[in-house]
Amino acid sequence: MATLTLLQAVNDALKTAMRDDPSVVVFGEDVGPKGGVFLATEGLTKEFGANRCFDTPLSEDGIIGTGIGMALNGLKPVCEIQFQDFIFPAFDQIVSEAAKFRYRSGGQYTCPMVIRTPYGGGIRGGLYHSQSGEAYFCHTPGLKVVIPSTPHDAKGLLLASIDDPDPVLFLEPKALYRQVKGEVPEGKYKVDLSTLRTVREGRNVTVFCYGAMVPVCERAAVQAAEKGIETLIVDLRTLLPLDEEGVIEAAKQTGRVVVVHEAPRFCGFGGEISAIIAENAIEYMEAPIARVTGFDTPFPNTLEHHYMPDERRVLDAIEHVHNY
């Protein structure tokens, strides 16, 4: 097994899929000779040729629209949107088209495609290179939404997404691209979608998180342990369709819940987790559910470290629900 960064694991997954299946094509802005602005697609054009990994004109609408057509007609497109912040010109294609083709055609036409895009803050990218837009897409029946937090999961989840019969939005935590390293098996393997990952066992407080917030929560849990609080951390890794049973089970285990995400709070994914627990396990709750999230403001630049949840804020919430 090789030790790879999350970014290298994504690259490895793409190569593995393209070697395995000649119908897989990768395209987007700057993904060809340059290898993507983060280098996630480095070497693909060289190995697989410009017919299978190529640059497009600067149009997200065009990227996703043509991707849909390819998917309808037997190819396996893996489209890259350079930053999740720039996905909105393609919102119509994703929400009105890719997500609804199967339903509106009675299952005659389907869109098995993957849309990869880096999301989240921590790189001093200001309003438009930092956003976490998962909630917009989790509100879209027909779409799957996946977010890895480790190199192992990045490869296994991406390969599962490429094999999936439905459109998958694959959000990559750009803050972790080079920050996390881990062992990644060679060749093809899959991490099943809609499964949770227990990051750390604990009997006092349950923390639900995903993507770039996972290491933040892990660090907070270490500090909580020094204060005698044992934290169970659950990495949701597929937000839609969500393993609701697993969420309820993990909440029941401690009866004290914190949900963490970078995205704004109002109508954020934390609201969904809270509602699922309230509906199914409220009698197990020993404390109100706490959310640690980005603020309900646009994403600032200079002060991004105040905007993004950090160990300080997560630990404060863990202590709060623990001592309630």
Binding site: F86, R124, G126, Y128
Partner: protein, 372 residues
């Protein structure tokens, strides 16, 4: 003027082929001074980024003449919907360098309160330099709307929007040009074709003979102009602005130029730009081109360059000191300006942030590097 034939004014020897320049010597020297200040500003920002003092910048080298020529055709009452590479337009109209550097440092004196990335300027004085957005192409239809308001009120002003070759593929390009032509809006679309959209060459962006020719299908004139020639850009812009002011509708101008650097401080152009292309365009440097013209008019020698360069250096030096010495914006700026009035839920989040900072200390800042 044509959509596929390059309009040029300044000849290789500095002559202008009988073209009536129509500018005073002072005006010409203001253009020259702005070229040098723009280049110096760019150079300083690149160095500040390389030494870790700011997080990011966008190179400007090679495209200064387009910006200066275009800006010189505008009045202070006109509106600019610029792109992130338009330093020269702001400087031409007198935006103080310090104000631009406050943005580059994202400090408390930044007009946008440190909320935006570097090079995303916003100014209302001395000219409307409308807040820059990162998403490409969104500002084209906005310029058309601003122009609609001008027309409705019977004002003789124009809106100019500037964007890149890559921007012509955006949804906003299509709706912007289409609406403007249908409405006969007082708008000028300035496409700065620097031949690259990050690593994508024009051959990967369009199959049209030029970008300017796209105007024809929308029903407006398209003009292809030498973007390294201040006077050619100015000529095309003056004509377009004049048409707009007379109520004759929009124009698309394509300024053909070259980005003599990477896309941004995070980009390595040697990975994809052919060496020969750099060498070829090095010879077409827009500053040298304008110097040749000025020299022929006896307005230029090495001393003039030295004098203006020294002035620009001193100006930037002071501005950097001021901007770097200015503290970060206060935490409250995260929560203000989302709406005119701060709603209760945002106020509560702000109060919680202050409370936590008081109890547990401040959040720690990252290294401020933008890795793209």
């Amino acid at each position: 003027m044509a959509a596929t034939q390059l309009l040029t004014v300044i000849e290789p020897d500095g002559g202008v082929n009988g073209h009536d320049v129509g500018m005073t010597n002072d005006e010409l020297l203001h253009c020259y001074r702005t070229l040098l200040r723009t280049r110096a500003f760019d150079d300083t920002c690149m160095k500040l980024q390389r030494s870790g003092r700011i997080g990011f910048s966008i190179p400007n080298k090679g495209v200064e003449a387009t910006q200066v020529g275009a800006a010189s055709a505008l009045q202070k009452t006109d509106w600019l919907f610029p792109s992130y590479r338009d330093f020269g337009m702001a400087l031409y109209h007198g935006v103080p360098m310090a104000d631009m550097l406050h943005n580059m440092f994202g400090n408390a004196l930044d007009s946008a309160k440190g909320r935006q990335m570097p090079v995303h300027f916003s100014f209302v004085e001395p000219i409307k330099f409308v807040s820059i957005s990162s998403p490409i192409g969104t500002h084209l239809p906005q310029a058309v709307g601003a122009a609609y308001a001008m027309k409705l009120r019977g004002e003789k002003t124009v809106a100019v929007t500037s964007f890149g070759d890559g921007g012509t593929s955006s949804l906003g390009f299509h709706s912007g040009l289409n609406f403007a032509a249908v409405w006969k809006s007082p708008v000028v679309f300035l496409c700065q074709n620097n031949q690259w959209a990050i690593s994508c060459p024009s051959s990967g962006q369009t199959a049209s003979e030029s970008y300017a020719i796209k105007a024809k299908a929308y029903g407006m004139p398209g003009v292809l102009v030498d973007g390294n020639d201040v006077l050619a850009v100015r000529k095309a812009m003056l004509e377009a602005v004049d048409r707009a002011r007379k109520g004759l509708g929009p124009t698309l101008i394509e300024a053909f130029t070259f980005r003599m650097a990477g896309h941004s401080t995070s980009d390595d152009p040697t990975r994809y730009v052919p060496k020969e292309q750099f060498a070829e365009w090095e010879k077409k440097d827009p500053v040298l081109r304008f110097e040749k013209f000025l020299a022929k008019k006896k307005l230029w020698n090495e001393d003039v360059r030295a004098k203006y360069t020294d002035e620009a250096t001193a100006e930037i030096h002071l501005a950097v000191q001021l901007a770097e010495g200015t503290p970060r914006p206060g935490i409250e700026t995260i929560f203000s300006d989302v709406y005119r009035d701060v709603p209760a839920h945002i106020r509560k989040q702000g109060e919680a942030a202050f409370d936590l900072a008081a109890r547990k200390g401040d959040a720690s800042a990252g290294d401020g590097k933008f890795p793209l």
